[in-house]
């Protein structure tokens, strides 16, 4: 055991924090370039040390670390601590997170060059990195929840980064609130864990997990629920919020309101992966409940397929990628639900690279188009920006799981795992993920062709008026062409270098790592799979090297579905571009359903937002105003007033009133004495 390791872990998390604080607090006193250097340095330190940790684990057989940094609070025999659990799962996560974050930092220099909030932005993204690192390195639920909420906070700040835009601040608020709905379940899950196991530290909880298996609780009288099922479903509700699973997915597409670099950060590395990671981390608990795993699988499958469908009708380049993220997160969840945690994490990793690549490349396009994001005003860009074009193509091929690219290895493994799974809902999930391949290829290459191929749907007017084209809500089709003051051109090196650096793993990471990560027992003890959930074991037996896997893909339906998707995209958007509008007309009901994203937003706006306000007003005006203040408070004041008015009459001051009262009283008294 290396005694310097705990210090290294501390530096890994604190370096980005320190950088964020310096860049944030001293924002007014430091020059622009200092704010990007300090944050890049902080994240680079994290990245280098993360690689070192991973290296030590892989090649110097370093064991797991479970170290406590300090006691956050002690109440009786419950200890809340801040500490690190660093095993191979964590080591992989911190490396991916810090790498993608580093790329995003460098890229931001170019993307945000003209933004007045430049320094604030760097402070936020460094803070984001810190929060995510805290989350993945936690050795207990308290710190997990801290990281969980902290990424929520920073995403709120970043999505609403352009705070003068109403849509951006709305999207930020929405992201936070939807995530809080997830946290509702998550916190209850944590509370149940503590209630049963008596601890929030992973080690103690996992050690207790086997005893949890047979226990039951009554949520409703007379109805016994298995405790692990309740715990895992509640925890997964949290994951549904963070990892944007249906029906808590609605915040993610709107998060596109933030600047593009943070889209890459949120979608690839820092936020949405938190839920997937958490489930994998909690595998000793999830393995106890087939029901919960089925829920995970079915929710993931729905997300994977149906959110992909929505991606087909989007016209904003970033939104297409956003829906692809939703769909891919669904794949990861399906893998988790099939007990193929390793496959889920593997897809998380490959996805991190190619999704960051796609977002940053889309950002590069957006810069070139002067902040135009509508693909209907793009087209033919390949000749203007070759590096972006090539890297985007690599990212797209990785996304559609084209054999040999990074996404292929992970996605094919997931499909195979689901195919083998015996779990309830597995056949539904299998069809979803399989058809999802077609859908993925269709929307990805629709986007690719609309952006880079075909004829140019914009006009270059040198010296003409600057049209930054911020949304004018044109009709669905027949959009007026965009106007650009200058022809589009390739982005500067700070943008293209990260693209190239991300394209390399998008090409090769699958080849290189599938054997060790998935089948070489890489995760060791960090992921627990019950002996009877041996999906991965069977895949291991069938696996004969990456090259073989590529060769065998020609016999699998997935490849042909992907090719069909590309072909359909080509046919509709290059060969016969008038067809999509026609089809939309023919299948209007279906088209409307998709364009309205299955009406989730409308339903939530009406029931949740409207309901909350309606109930609030009813309770305020009705409950507080009428009943409590009106009847009880002011009513009792009036009652006192009325009573004193009545009593006052008794004190009229007239002698004959008093005398009369005395006589009446005397008569009553006498009558009572006589008659009793």
């Amino acid at each position: 055991m290396n005694p310097a390791m705990p210090t290294i872990f501390l530096i890994i998390v604190l370096a980005p924090l320190a950088a964020a604080v310096i860049a944030g607090i001293f924002m007014r006193f430091i020059p622009r370039h200092f704010s990007h250097w300090v944050t890049i340095l902080g994240v680079a330190v994290s990245f280098v040390l993360s690689v070192y940790v991973l290296w030590q684990m892989l090649y110097n057989s370093m064991g797991n670390f479970n170290v406590t940094v300090y006691n956050w609070g002690v109440v009786g025999n419950v200890q809340f601590q801040v500490g690190f659990l660093v095993d191979r799962l964590t080591a992989l996560m911190i490396t991916v997170v810090s790498f993608v974050s580093l790329m995003v930092h460098i890229y931001t220099i170019g993307y945000m060059a003209d933004d007045p909030g430049y320094k604030r932005f760097f402070s936020y993204i460094a803070l984001f990195t810190f929060a995510m690192l805290m989350l993945v390195m936690a050795n207990n639920f308290l710190q997990l929840f801290f990281g969980w909420e902290a990424v929520g906070l920073v995403s709120y700040l970043l999505i609403g980064f352009w705070y003068t835009r109403p849509t951006a601040i709305y999207a930020g608020l929405k992201a936070f609130l939807v995530n809080r709905v997830g946290d509702f379940g998550f916190l209850l899950g944590i509370a149940l864990v503590l209630t049963y196991s008596g601890s929030v530290n992973y080690a103690a909880v996992f050690a207790y997990a086997p005893q949890l298996a047979g226990q039951h609780m009554q949520l409703f009288p007379g109805l016994a629920w298995s405790v692990p099922t309740v715990i895992c479903i509640l925890l997964f509700v949290g994951a549904m919020g963070k990892s944007a699973q249906v029906p808590l997915h609605v915040w993610l597409p709107d998060s596109m309101e933030g600047p593009t670099p943070i889209s890459a950060l949120i979608h690839a590395a820092t936020m949405v992966t938190a839920g997937i990671f958490m489930v994998a981390r909690m595998s000793p608990l999830f393995e106890l409940s087939d029901t919960a795993l089925s829920v995970v699988m079915i929710v993931g499958a729905i997300t994977a397929f149906f959110m992909g469908l929505v991606g087909i009708v989007q016209n904003d380049i970033k939104r297409v990628i956003a829906y692809s993220t939703l769909s891919q997160l669904g794949y990861m969840a399906v893998a988790l639900g099939a007990s193929a945690y390793a496959a889920g994490i593997f897809h998380l990793m490959t996805h991190a690279f190619f999704k960051a690549l796609l977002f940053l490349a889309a950002g590069s396009v957006i810069i070139a188009m002067h902040h135009e994001q509508d693909m209907r005003r793009m087209g033919g860009l390949r000749k203007y920006m070759p590096i972006t074009y090539i890297t985007f193509l690599i990212g797209s091929l990785a996304l559609i799981a084209f054999p040999g690219f990074a996404g292929f290895f992970s996605k094919d493994t997931i499909i195979a795992a689901v195919h083998d799974s015996q779990r309830a809902g597995a056949s539904f999930a299998y069809w979803c993920v399989l058809l999802g391949v077609f859908v993925t290829a269709l929307y990805t290459f629709r986007m690719f062709f609309m952006t880079f191929h075909g004829k140019e749907r914009f006009v270059v007017e040198p010296g003409g008026k600057h049209d930054h084209g911020h949304e004018d809500h044109a009709s669905e089709e027949h959009l007026a062409p965009g106007h650009l003051a200058h022809p589009p051109k390739e982005s500067p090196w700070v943008v293209t270098v990260p693209l190239i650096l991300l394209a390399i793993p998008s090409l090769f990471i699958g080849w290189l790592t599938i054997q060790p990560v998935l089948y070489g027992g890489f995760f060791g003890s960090s992921i627990y799979v019950a002996p009877n959930h041996h999906v991965m074991q069977r895949l291991t037996d069938e696996f004969h090297g990456a090259a073989n896997m590529v060769r065998e893909s020609v016999t699998s339906p997935a490849l042909y579905l992907a090719l069909a998707g590309v072909l359909v995209a080509w046919f509709f958007y290059l060969y016969a571009p008038q067809l999509p509008a026609l089809l939309a007309q023919k299948l209007n009901a279906f088209y409307q359903l998709l364009i309205h994203k299955f009406y989730f937003d409308e339903i939530y706006a009406f029931f949740i937002a409207g309901g909350t306000r309606g109930l609030g007003n009813a309770l305020w005006k009705g409950g507080d105003g009428v009943v409590i203040d009106g009847v009880l408070v002011n009513g009792s004041a009036r009652a006192v007033g009325w009573l004193s008015g009545v009593l006052r009459r008794g004190q009229s001051g007239y002698l004959y009133h008093y005398a009369f009262a005395m006589i009446v009283g005397l008569c009553l008294l006498l009558g009572w004495l006589l008659l009793r």
């Binding site: 609070g73 929840f145 809080r180």
Partner: protein, 504 residues
């Protein structure tokens, strides 16, 4: 007998003396009033620090005790002392008073000396309430405290200040009259006004129930608990900024403190029997009031309603101990709920105080509390926006801020009691975020809302200091609550044992 430095007496009388001096100075040397008030408030805070540093965390016994006979005929004693429950509240009081003095610095012009004096006198009385160990002394200070607050709202308040101050006075006074009856009853039974004697005297169930209800009337109004909460929004709206800060930060804590000092130890069996009442009212406060807070259009009302919802966690944390005890027949795990409630009290003191200060900063500029009158304030006041977002996040209960600690502990504990209690309490995750962040969105974000907003100046150095001083404890408690928990622990353990020990 007192052999040590009478620190609690100093904390009671020094601010009152300071208040009188400030009053006199207002006539003689009006320009010195601010500095004098600041001097006294800082001095009192300095005096209160040793309470923390010299506190013995190993014992639940009262510390820094002073005990002198006061009215011999009725066995009334001037008996002061603190334990781990009351000591942090005294520090909160002395700290917040400093802030209030600074916050009123350039803002209050009308009868400045009286304003400052009122807060100093108030501070002394509040310190007295938290340290009084004699029932009658407690009652006298408890009622006396109403007077400066009544004046603060009635003199420096807004347009409907008279309605608000009378409502405030009658509401709280009505409640505390019942408490007086209960205290006298116990005196008659025990021959002493000593609170610690009250705690140990045996009482039958009927007596306990009546005592409990009498105290509940007093404390529920102060906390405030639904449905006796409607004075609070009115009082807050009309009170000047400093009044709102003290009201939210300290006065609301009196009721919750009363539960711990009186209700639980004196009437444990009645507390046990009536726990569902308090738990139900707490959950109503969290959920019902949470919904009401969402739709407020007045910033102060919104923060006031949010205070009620947050105080629901305090009472919930206290009373779930009985549910757990009933379920498991052991006190293990109950301490966390009570400590969570206590941390929530301290945290809410800083956070709600800070939010009222933020509203005050806005009010000083545009003279309106209507949310609609603002919009895009961040464009003009970025430093202010930083603080307001920080305090908003603390109000939301984000980990890393003090607002998280109490909610976390209470929700975790209530799960041990009952799934559905935790379920109800967890509503705050959504509702708290909804009302707080919607406020932030409408006030801070967006383009500059109107021409008035365009003229707003960012916070001055003085305002920066006030908000910065609030931010420090909010963050420190959030990151490292262990010292605070440690201070409370022995006393809370003792209290829990008293509460589950039947007196029948």
């Amino acid at each position: 007998m007192t052999t040590h430095f009478p620190i609690l007496s100093v904390l009671l009388w020094l601010p009152i003396a300071g208040g009188v001096i400030v009053l006199l100075a207002g006539r003689v040397a009006p320009r010195s009033v601010r500095w004098l008030a600041l001097f006294f408030s800082v001095l009192v805070f300095a005096v209160s620090v040793p309470l923390w540093t010299q506190f013995n965390t190993g014992t639940a016994a009262m510390q820094f005790v002073e005990n002198l006979p006061w009215i011999r005929t009725f066995h009334v004693h001037y008996h002061l002392g603190v334990d781990g429950i009351s000591m942090p509240l005294i520090l909160l009081t002395t700290f917040m008073t400093v802030l209030v003095v600074i916050a009123g610095w350039e803002v209050v012009h009308y009868k400045l000396a009286q304003y400052m004096a009122a807060f100093l006198i108030m501070e002394g009385l509040m310190n007295g309430v938290f340290s009084a160990l004699d029932g009658l002394l407690f009652y006298v200070l408890w009622e006396a405290m109403l007077i400066p607050m009544f004046l603060i709202i009635g003199i420096w308040g807004g347009p409907r200040r008279v309605y608000a101050s009378i409502k405030f006075f009658l509401y709280t006074f009505l409640g505390s009259v019942f408490m007086l009856v209960a205290i006298i009853y116990m005196y008659v039974k025990s021959g002493s006004y000593d609170i610690l004697t009250f705690q140990q005297m045996p009482l039958g169930m009927t007596a306990q129930a009546l005592i409990f209800l009498a105290f509940l009337a007093a404390f529920a109004v102060k906390v405030p608990m639904w449905p006796v909460h409607t004075w609070l929004p009115d009082a807050h709206v009309e009170a000047p900024t400093g009044g709102s800060v003290i009201l939210a930060a300290i006065l609301l804590k009196m009721g919750a403190y009363g539960f711990l000092r009186f209700s639980l130890p004196i009437a444990p069996d009645a507390s046990h029997a009536l726990m569902w009442l308090v738990i139900a009212l707490s959950l109503i406060a969290i959920i019902y009031i949470g919904f009401v807070a969402v739709v407020q259009t007045d910033m102060k009302k919104l923060v006031a309603y949010s205070s009620i919802a947050h105080m629901g966690f305090v009472t919930l944390g206290f009373f779930i101990l009985f549910v757990i005890f009933e379920k498991t027949a052991s006190t293990s795990g109950t301490v966390m709920g009570v400590e969570g409630g206590l941390v929530q009290m301290i945290s809410h003191g800083f956070v709600s105080g800070a939010l009222f200060l933020c509203v005050g900063v806005l009010y000083d500029r545009l003279h309106t509390r209507e949310i609609n009158a603002y919009g895009g304030v961040i464009n003009m006041m970025p430093a202010f926006a930083f603080f307001m977002v920080l305090f908003a996040m603390a109000n939301v209960g984000l980990p890393g801020t003090s607002g998280f600690v109490g909610e976390w502990m209470v929700i975790l504990t209530s799960m041990k009691a009952n799934f559905w209690i935790a379920f109800g309490a967890a509503f705050t995750l959504f509702l708290g975020a909804a009302y707080t962040l919607w406020l932030v969105k409408r006030v801070l974000y967006g383009p500059v809302g109107n021409d008035h907003v365009a003229t707003m100046q960012d916070i001055s150095k003085r305002e920066f200091i006030v908000l910065g001083l609030c931010a420090i404890p909010v963050v420190v408690i959030g990151i490292w609550p262990a010292p605070l928990l440690n201070v409370m622990h022995a006393s809370v353990v003792n209290l829990v044992h008293q509460a589950v020990q039947s007196k029948l």
